[in-house]
């Protein structure tokens, strides 16, 4: 049996054990995502990468590819849902792009542009999430956390430090750090940790480096987020 499936009508080949996301990415097809990162175990929580497999919706980052499956991704219906999910993430936290150092390098912002999000649509929750500026090198601005848990996975699986974890439940779920004081300064976190590099939004920021690259010249200012995957196709 050939190892291929169709994605929006296009034939995609895959290797045994690959997820739909992995196979699509390798083939240069972009599926919007926030909690997925190729170097880490898939999480399946943001649901931005939802696709329709044989008529049923599922997260493409956790669903293994099966030969012959028919996958729909870039359809108006699914993109509408992705846009709504993105709006939900915007109103759940406090995301003020113009004042954010991550602007232009932020996956949430770039995904919103990609999906044509013109407004937050829902009433903002305006949660109260104090900033942690205790660490000499790194600032934690929890206001922008989308609970993707990439820092949790990176710190646990790569750094072997368990600096980050999620606590709370439901809408009160929040990021915590590994210190009795609850402060990053009291952990063994350093700027060289993998966890310092993976935040898709502006929660984990390097201090004293603001605007090193001016807004307008940043990653997603120059090309849309979809290009990060689609570029690979050309070299593939």
């Amino acid at each position: 049996m050939s190892h291929t499936f169709t994605l929006d009508g296009k034939t995609i080949s895959f290797e045994e054990g690959q997820t739909i996301m992995q196979a699509a990415t390798k083939a240069g097809v972009f599926i919007p995502h926030l909690c997925y990162h190729p170097e880490f175990k898939p999480h399946g929580s943001c649901k931005l990468c939802t696709v329709k497999v044989n008529g049923r919706q599922t997260a493409s980052c956790t669903m293994r590819a099966i030969a012959g499956m028919v996958v729909e991704s870039d359809t108006p219906e699914i993109n509408d849902e992705r846009r709504t999910l993105t709006q939900m993430l915007f109103v759940e936290g406090n995301h003020f792009c113009p004042s954010c150092e991550k602007s232009g390098n932020c996956q949430l912002q770039a995904t919103a542009y990609h999906l044509g999000m013109m407004s937050p649509h829902f009433d903002h929750f305006f949660p109260d999430r104090p900033v942690d500026a205790s660490h000499p090198e790194v600032l934690l601005d929890f206001n922008r956390c989308i609970l993707c848990s990439l820092c949790v996975r990176a710190s646990r699986d790569v750094d072997g430090k368990n600096v980050f974890a999620l606590s709370g439940r439901g809408i009160d779920t929040h990021l915590i750090v590994n210190a009795k004081s609850g402060q990053l300064a009291d952990t063994n976190f350093t700027l060289h940790d993998k966890a310092a590099q993976v935040c898709p939004v502006g929660v984990i920021l390097k201090k004293r480096e603001g605007f090193a690259v001016p807004i307008g010249e940043r990653s997603y200012d120059k090309q849309p987020i979809s290009a990060t995957v689609e570029a690979k196709q050309e070299g593939y």
Binding site: P42, G44, S45, C46, K47, L48, T50, Q57, A59, T62, R64, E81, T84, L85, M88, L89, V91, E92, F122, D123, F125, I146, L147, N162, V163, F164, A165, L166, S167, G168, R169, G170, I171, D172, T173, I176, V177, N178, A179, K180
Partner: protein
């Protein structure tokens, strides 16, 4: 300083004692945290220090787990921690008024701790006492049949700092209320009978347990007993009683056939995390039919080849822990648990009880397994399924309490007998937890196929406007559908049967359920975490008199998104009560439509209330009237 040191020392002593009893095993985290809290009233930073040291796990893991469960506290919540059950049936019996009465009597606000640290009062999701509510939990022990007089007495007991052990025993009485028994609730089975019958049904060489075979049935003889037991379950056509109705025989067979890696074993888990608002049948089954449940689990273990089993008991049923442990101990003495059960070589099986700590989502089988492993109760990505990759990644069956009780009956009397009861696709009986507006709330057991109308007649319901079958995750039916029947062909149910008469406002029923889902969402996936919160805000907006057809459209949109993108069943069903009531009880919504197109949730005049209070003004000039700004009324 010395006092602090002494405190830390005392806490460390408690933690050490608990951790040692659980063999320093981090997979017992939920149990350890619960017991530490029982001794210390909360999980203090000092307790976490010691847990971190003795369990060898990072602080983040401990705080992450403790933060997930409603009944575990990382902040002090008082020596008496009182939680009012807030199911719709508790509401109908005036729980909010009673809570207010207690709070004003104790001079505290709901959700806050008294200044002397003595007491906190708050609400919690349905505690499974719907037939004898309103109810509350004090330090996780249930008090039923609340009244104004009882609330005043409780206030006095708290004020006088009376130890819980000295509170009147009558408060803690939980009645069974068995109104209509059939094969299960009427069973007189003596402990061991079902196992003996199952064993006796095997061919003469069937003396060996499944534990002694290889996964490929490598042993040519001696397999009769377990295989025969499995055959009876299949013949019975038994389907899971948790609501989804998966075929039990297939589940057991898949687990039995799942390959084991070196050092692995199979597990049997009984899901007693009965959290669906309105259901309480498992509470009664575990109170008065525990032998039947444990015997069913043992028969399952015999059939799939498991050595260990867990009963995952919801935290709300904490009071059942000691009685259930006593039943297990008796069964061990009787040779019905432990090694070589009934003298069958290799038939080794024992059961441990794990208590939950207030998280409805743990009723989902993969979340339940996560919780059993001492983690946050987040549903797993599937596949793989628990039958192959369950508890600690080993083959595991998870079945409902009632399913195991039925399995014991099948072991005793055979599959054919069982299959002859009920309907073609729904064999056997179903135990219904009836509550709400009726004369005789309690348990009713019927063969599948019984009509809603019949149940209503039997329990003495009058002027019934609606029945919520299977709780908020289920379906709301109006009088036009009362001839519909209970069964997998028509209305499947986990057991809740909540009745509303004509005096009830079905919008408020739906709103209560929406608050429930918002509170119980695990928060893992975006659509459920944010969607249930948005839905709650929409329903509150209507409740506050700011409804419009726009809000209907938003609810519809939220439903679509939750159904198609949520991670688990909680998100998939969270909109059900709203959509059902919109469809069937539209007038309850219509009367909340204050505008033709759109009404903002933000009330300009209300926003000035604080300023009015501060300035001591309440003249017309200090008010803003919305109509003046060109809003057309409906």
């Amino acid at each position: 300083m010395a006092l602090n040191d002494r405190h830390a020392e005392a806490v460390a002593g408690i933690v050490d004692r608990v951790v040692t009893r659980y063999r320093r095993d981090p997979t017992c985290m939920v149990q350890i945290l619960r017991e530490v809290q029982e001794a210390c009233d909360w999980i203090s930073p000092e307790a976490i220090d010691r847990l971190q040291a003795t369990l060898g796990v990072p602080r983040t893991k401990i705080e992450g787990v403790a933060g997930f469960y409603s009944f575990l506290y990382l902040q002090p919540r008082g020596k008496y921690r009182i939680l009012f059950s807030d199911n719709i049936t508790d509401r109908m019996h005036g729980n909010l008024t009673l809570m207010e009465r207690l709070c004003s009597s104790l001079w505290i606000e709901p959700g806050k701790v008294s200044e002397d640290g003595l007491v906190s009062v708050d609400k919690t999701s349905c505690t499974g006492m719907c037939d004898q509510g309103p109810a509350l939990l004090v330090n996780n022990l249930a008090i039923t049949r609340l009244s104004e007089a009882r609330i005043d007495e409780i206030a006095e007991l708290v004020r006088s700092n009376t130890p819980l052990a000295e509170w009147p025993a009558d408060y803690f009485t939980v009645e069974d209320h068995i109104r209509l028994p059939d094969i299960l609730l009427g069973s007189q089975m003596a402990p061991g009978d079902a196992l003996r019958a199952a064993h006796g049904r095997a061919p003469s060489d069937g003396l060996m347990s499944s534990n002694m075979r290889s996964w490929r049935e490598g042993l040519p003889t001696g397999l009769g007993g377990p295989a025969a037991m499995l055959d009876e379950i299949k013949r019975a056509n038994l389907r899971g009683r948790g609501g989804a109705g998966f075929t039990t025989g297939l589940k057991w067979e898949a687990c039995r056939n799942a390959p084991l890696k070196s050092g692995q074993q199979r597990f049997v888990v009984c899901n007693a995390d009965e959290g669906e608002p309105g259901t309480f049948k498992d509470r009664v089954l575990l109170t008065s039919y525990a032998d039947l449940v444990f015997e069913g689990m043992t028969a399952a273990a015999y059939s799939v080849g498991a050595r260990r089993g867990f009963l995952y008991l919801r935290g709300e049923y904490r009071y059942l822990l000691e009685p259930l442990n006593a039943v297990l101990e008796r069964r061990r003495k009787e040779g019905l648990l432990g090694a070589d059960i009934l003298g069958i070589p290799g038939a080794d099986f024992d059961i441990e009880i794990h208590l939950g700590a207030g998280a409805y989502v743990c009723g989902e089988e993969s979340a339940l397994i996560e919780s059993l492993e001492g983690k946050r109760g987040t549903p797993r990505n599937r596949p793989p399924f628990p039958v192959t990759n369950g508890y600690l990644d080993q083959p595991t069956i998870v079945n409902n309490v009632e399913t195991f009780a039925a399995a014991a009956l099948i072991a005793l009397k055979g599959g054919e007998w069982y299959a002859s009861i009920g309907t073609k696709h729904s064999a056997g009986t179903k135990v219904l937890s009836v509550s709400g507006d009726c004369e005789r709330p309690g348990l009713y057991e019927y063969p599948f196929g019984v009509s809603i109308r019949q149940v209503l007649a039997d329990c003495g319901a009058r002027d019934t406007q609606a029945v919520q079958v299977s709780g908020p995750s289920g379906i709301c039916v109006g009088p036009a559908e009362f001839d519909r029947t209970i069964g997998f062909e028509d209305i499947p149910t986990a057991g809740a049967f909540t009745i509303f008469d004509n005096s009830r406002d079905m919008f408020e029923v739906a709103r209560n359920y929406v608050h429930f889902f918002q509170h119980e969402s695990c928060g893992f996936c975006t659509p459920c975490r944010v969607g249930t919160a948005l839905l709650k805000n929409l329903m509150d907006k209507l409740h506050n008199g700011c409804g419009s057809p726009y809000d209907f459209a938003e609810i519809e949109k939220m439903n679509q998104l939750l159904q198609s993108t949520s991670h688990c069943g909680l998100g998939h069903t969270a909109c059900n009560p709203v959509l059902d009531t919109i469809e069937k009880f539209r007038p309850a919504y219509e009367k909340r439509m204050t505008r033709k197109d759109f009404a903002p949730a933000f009330d300009l005049d209300q926003a000035l209330a604080a300023a009015r209070q501060m300035t001591g003004r309440d003249d017309p000039g200090a008010h803003i009237i919305a109509e003046e700004f060109g809003e057309g009324s409906a």
